[in-house]
């Protein structure tokens, strides 16, 4: 039997295989196990229906945010179209489920693949454009897709949208938030694991190389454009899977949610969570969803308390303001995001009581 390692000190690696493990110590693995037990064994049973709803939203957004982080944080290709790609996934899912009668288990990956294809098309400008110019090109993509959602009525139902109801998985009713919680978080765990794997292989390395120095990347034998497209495809695949889950979760979809604001919210998630960090994407999704809930319930609460109703109407637009403020504060004080905060907290615990 192998020796367990609980401390990242004095454990000398004896093979290169040990070095490419995700967790350095068995402590890390133990925490992962505890986390999974909490996630699947405890949280769904102690959460109120409202809490489950919030957690499900977090899970869906986290999947999309991981995708966007692969594109922006790792490959350095800024996209303002992620919200629309999320919408493509939602529509693809809804259409496959209602018009083609695909079962849930096929709809989600199929929606991911369709969105990946769409994402690649809108990633084509990255062959020539960089930075701000690419940003504008993807913005155009966002608007084109929004237009398609509204105007292609025969397929998308126009402004009325599509409703997806009565979906089941292995005979379980997916309309139930607790059942759906399991579906979402199994997807999130699997998608996180895949992202971590991609990052530690040649694909992740190529993405990072393209982000940091595309001239040198090419000298390393990395074909830049195909890899940018691959990154767009993978990122959109994540958006598509998340979008399809969203369609089932909301049970009916209309074009409104998939606007530029959503794209910006996704970007906010990965900036606040930490660019170039997979766990950061999840932290960012948690932070943003929590912030949204606090803000919307805060204003709602003030509305209901008679005398302050007037004040509430004036602070309603504050939502955007607080959002912007949060992003700016993070960029100034912790540009590496929540992932870095988490790392600092963790290492403080590890080094306690000798934290210097």
């Amino acid at each position: 039997m192998r020796k367990f390692q609980f401390h990242p000190c004095g454990n000398f690696k004896e093979s290169y295989n040990e070095e490419i493990k995700i967790f350095e110590t068995d402590f890390g693995r133990l925490w992962l196990l505890i986390g999974l037990v909490l996630l699947f064994g405890v949280i769904p049973f102690i959460s109120s229906p409202f809490m489950l709803y919030v957690l499900n939203t977090v899970g869906i957004y986290a999947i999309a945010a991981i995708g966007l982080n692969l594109l922006i944080g790792y490959t350095g290709q800024i996209s303002l179209g992620h919200g629309a790609f999320f919408g493509v996934g939602a529509y693809a899912g809804a259409i496959l489920a209602t018009k083609a009668n695909f079962p849930f288990i096929l709809v989600v990956p199929a929606a991911g693949l369709i969105t990946a294809a769409v994402g690649m098309v809108f990633g084509l400008p990255s062959a020539r454009l960089k930075h701000l110019y690419l940003c504008i090109a993807t913005l155009a993509g966002q608007f084109i897709l929004e237009y398609v959602f509204v105007q292609w009525e025969s397929l998308t139902g126009g402004a009325e949208g599509i409703s997806v109801v009565g979906a089941t998985l292995f005979g379980l009713d997916l309309g139930n938030d607790r059942t759906f919680y399991y579906v979402i978080f199994v997807c999130l765990v699997v998608m996180t694991w895949i992202a971590v794997n991609l990052i530690r292989t040649r694909y992740g390395r190529a993405f990072i190389a393209i982000r940091d120095n595309d001239r040198a990347a090419e000298g390393m034998g990395i074909p830049i454009f195909p890899y940018k497209l691959l990154s767009f495809a993978i990122s959109s695949f994540y958006a598509g899977v998340a979008g399809a889950l969203y369609a089932y979760f909301m049970m009916s979809i209309t074009p409104e949610p998939f606007n530029l604001w959503l794209s910006i919210v996704f970007i906010a998630m990965i900036i606040i969570g930490g660019l170039g960090s997979i766990p950061g994407s999840v932290f960012g999704a948690i932070f943003i969803v929590a912030l949204e809930e606090v803000l919307s319930h805060g204003t709602e609460y003030l509305m209901n308390v008679g005398p302050s109703a007037g004040a509430a109407i004036t602070i309603a637009p504050l939502r955007e303001f607080v959002f912007g403020l949060a992003i700016v504060l993070f960029i100034i004080f912790e540009p590496k995001g929540l992932a870095e905060v988490w790392r600092i907290v963790r290492s403080n615990f590890r080094l306690w009581p000798f934290s210097y």
């Binding site: 991609l198 530690r200 292989t201 040649r202 390395r205 040198a216 390393m220």
Partner: protein
Amino acid sequence: MKAFRGEPSIFASARPEDKRAELEVKNLTLRFGGITALNKIDLAVHTGELVAIIGPNGAGKTSLLNCITGYYKPQEGRIFFNGEDITNLHTHTLTELGIGRTYQNIELFPGMTVLSNMLLARHVHCHYNVGKASLFSKSVRNEEVYHREILEELIDFLEMQSLRKQLVGALPYGMRKRVELGRALALEPKLLVLDEPFAGMTLEEKEDMVRFLMELNESWDQTMILVEHDMSVVMSISERIAVLDFGVKLAEGTPDFVQSHPQVIKAYLGDTSKID
């Protein structure tokens, strides 16, 4: 020369085609607007040779290397590598064909460790696909371990054991040049192209670098093109030297021949008046 250090297994290939590096540059002309950076250059490099290109600053040495490695596209002329016309191929394709290089202004990734930088160079030698990578299957794991072993051998060879986990951005300039050589070697190039590998180095660092290059060339038959504007080192290590000035090849031959060539002396004394 006797190797006391590591003997990297990637150098020890027994198949002659793995080492074959026949480069032929024919009548190459490259212009930038009104400037003619390269004017009708001819150059041939054969397997196992160490050829140096020298010339004053702005002579067009880097431009020539950039043409050979696909960064610049010449207006006229052709470049052949092992019989194949490579003039219009992309840099990444040339890397796959076996042309690896270092850059005059070091193009490493400063935010990454020495090891991560070198691992990037293994890209073309990874054979798994996206599907396998996303699951990190057994074969991917084995391949990654294999690449790590290759890199360790190179790190031993270049005497960089204590640097492997250090950020490249924190290393002194001379060390970065060595890391860049290591990264280029990790590409397993048939033709190694070095742009001013000694620039900005201390004397000790230069000596180490010369030692590595000599060993690569003599013990491992590594074919090399080496650009340098400082004549002294080059004279002692290369078999053949080509001299560029204002985009024109002034002379080519053995160090002794080049050294005594009147036009070369003229160019190096700073006489910029038109040379025949």
